[in-house]
């Protein structure tokens, strides 16, 4: 009774206060009119772009859960199905939290003295960001809300460590995996995303270039040139090398693929590898998962355009045709080499094609993407069927053979297919015509070299870094379950549940 009275009194007081404040509220627009006019010059997000990015973000989440979880889950044995589903969902959830705590800040802010490698903590816990904050896209004068940008980028950080799970599925301890994922995101992924994707944006570059063009005398030209150099220098190292990575071939796929191969080498083969039947328990699930991945990948690739326009449509088209070409390629090469066209082969080819077209999707033309898909499907088939058996490593679900190899093919091919003579869109240039995006003159040497350098750097960064982190986790909690637990299956051993109770 007393509480209700108090509430009623409080409410009445609030209404009264509001009535008293009202006149001043009504005055506010006139008072702030000059500031508002100045602010109006700042670009406002387009609702179409914003809607597209919101949808793309959700599509990329669908790639990891349930897409990747089912794709991987179907490939393991019945006794480990639930462990794979749990691992993927848990990594995705942990990564989302790390991203808003400090991941976004480390990836997309200026890192001061070590800005080449990693950002700083100025936006930790999303400090200073609200619903009105905006970020640039790839077009001058076009922005999207920072909230949707950070959510979109978050979904990439969520899926990448989940990809690694496939390399050591069926034998890694859950606690070790959680610890490794936190460390790997912090020390490998966030810096990598910063190095490849952090830059000043088209408007900063365009404005500085415009100032340089407008400069008349020597002194002001020098000052303007310094300003432009400073804007260009405020970017990640691989970005400054001129490496092109539209949607994350280096950051996501090569990065995860290398971490996977290092992990499976350090953890060792599964018990019974090469002797027992380690066949997939449900290729139905794998087919559903692969198909969800393909659909979700439109968010991943076409969403990486950050705007809903023709360039996003090009990325979508490339994501269609490269995938189809790679699926057909693996299917027919396997048919010719092994005698039978397999579903798993075709699905693996499709994933290889998706991976390969990821860095290229916004730069290559559709016919170039088809060639890329055909090559990726065939090469990844040889990697997974012949090279892997010859070397004898147990990459359970072929994270290396599909994601790393496909990613390298795609990253290198991007440097070739971006050539307008091959149907590509050309290397983006924001300085020649300030305020406009034009294609720079294509030269094979520098373009290809930048890609090769980026690939080499990613392999070293992720390879060495991941090896150190695995060793650290091994010392702290131990990487692998006991052989009894492995034989029993991780579902019961790690989680105390089964995926299936018949």
């Amino acid at each position: 009774m007393k509480l209700r009275h108090l509430l009623a009194a409080g409410l009445g007081g609030a209404v009264l206060a509001l009535a008293l404040v009202e006149p001043s509220l009504a005055q506010t627009p006139t008072v702030e009119a000059p500031t508002a006019a100045a602010a109006a010059a700042a670009p406002v997000p387009n609702k179409g772009d914003t809607a597209w990015m919101l949808i793309s973000t959700a599509l990329v989440l669908m790639m990891s859960v349930p897409g990747l979880a089912l794709f991987y889950g179907g490939l393991v044995r019945t006794k480990n199905m639930l462990s794979v589903l749990t691992q993927v969902f848990a990594i995705v959830s942990v990564a989302a939290l790390l991203w808003v705590f400090y991941g976004y800040s480390l990836a997309f802010t200026n890192g001061g003295g070590i800005n080449d490698f990693v950002g700083g903590f100025s936006k930790a816990f999303l400090r200073g960001i609200d619903a009105n904050a905006t970020v640039g896209t790839f077009s001058n004068g076009i922005v999207i809300p920072e909230y949707v940008y950070l959510c979109f980028q978050m979904t990439f950080a969520m899926i990448t460590p989940a990809l690694i799970v496939g390399a050591f599925a069926e034998r890694m301890k859950f606690s070790a995996l959680m610890l490794f994922s936190v460390l790997w995101l912090t020390f490998i992924y966030f810096p990598m995303a910063h190095m490849v994707w952090y830059w000043g944006g088209p408007d900063a570059v365009g404005n500085a270039a415009r100032a340089l063009a407008a400069a008349t005398d020597e002194t002001s030209r020098k000052a303007a040139q310094d300003a432009l150099d400073a804007v260009n220098a405020d970017a990640g190292m691989l970005f400054k090398w001129g490496a092109l990575d539209f949607a994350g071939g280096t950051v996501v796929h090569i990065n995860a693929g290398i971490a996977g191969i290092v992990g499976c080498l350090l953890i060792g083969k599964r018990i019974g590898y090469g002797r027992d039947l380690l066949a997939p328990h449900s290729l139905t699930m794998t087919m559903i998962g692969a198909s969800l991945l393909w659909v979700g990948w439109f968010g991943f690739n076409a969403g990486s355009n950050l705007e809903a326009n023709g360039s996003a449509a090009l990325a979508m088209l490339n994501t269609f045709v490269a995938t189809a070409a790679a699926a057909v390629s693996w299917l027919f090469v396997e048919w010719a080499a092994k005698g039978k066209p397999s579903l798993l082969g075709m699905l693996s080819g499709a994933i290889a094609g998706l991976v390969a077209v990821t860095p290229a999707c916004g730069f290559a033309g559709p016919m170039g993407s088809i060639v890329l898909g055909l090559v990726a499907g065939a090469v990844c088939f040889v990697m997974c069927s012949t090279v892997k058996n010859a070397i004898g490593y147990d990459d359970s679900l072929d994270v290396f053979g599909v994601h790393c190899v496909g990613g390298i093919i795609g990253a290198l091919a991007t440097g070739i297919l971006v050539n307008p003579a091959l149907g590509g869109v050309g290397v983006p240039d924001y300085t020649t015509k300030p305020g406009e995006l034009v294609a720079a003159a294509y030269e094979f040497g520098p373009a290809f070299l930048a890609q090769a350098k980026a690939v080499g750097f990613t392999i070293l960064w992720s390879g060495i870094g991941s090896a150190i982190l695995y060793k650290l986790v091994d010392v702290l909690v131990g990487l692998r379950v006991t052989s009894d637990e492995e034989r029993e299956g991780l579902d019961v051993a790690d989680h105390g549940e089964r995926a299936y109770n018949y």
């Binding site: 039947l277 066949a279 997939p280 397999s342 798993l344 997974c384 069927s385 072929d398």
Partner: protein
Amino acid sequence: MKIVMAIIKPFKLEEVRDALTSIGVHGLTVTEVKGYGRQKGHTEIYRGAEYAVSFLPKLKIEVAVAVDLVSNVVDAIAAAARTGQIGDGKIFVLPLEKAVRIRTGETDIDAL
């Protein structure tokens, strides 16, 4: 009383059941089993990893019958389960000491 135990190809189950019903056998237990005999297995390939699958899926059927019916039952199963290909299976006849129908408590021949 005897137990007639037969290992047959899974797709022959309905034909075997029909044959047994037609000679008056009403009751049969089926188990899914795996095994190998002279029939070789096959190879399965998953992304280039080849596995020799030597244990093939079969069905094991068990029928308890009176001694005078045994040869009819064996003939009926043999005729119905036969394809002429390797892997058709085998029939074993084992002695049966006692039988009880749980619902009524009837024993032996009455319980079959």
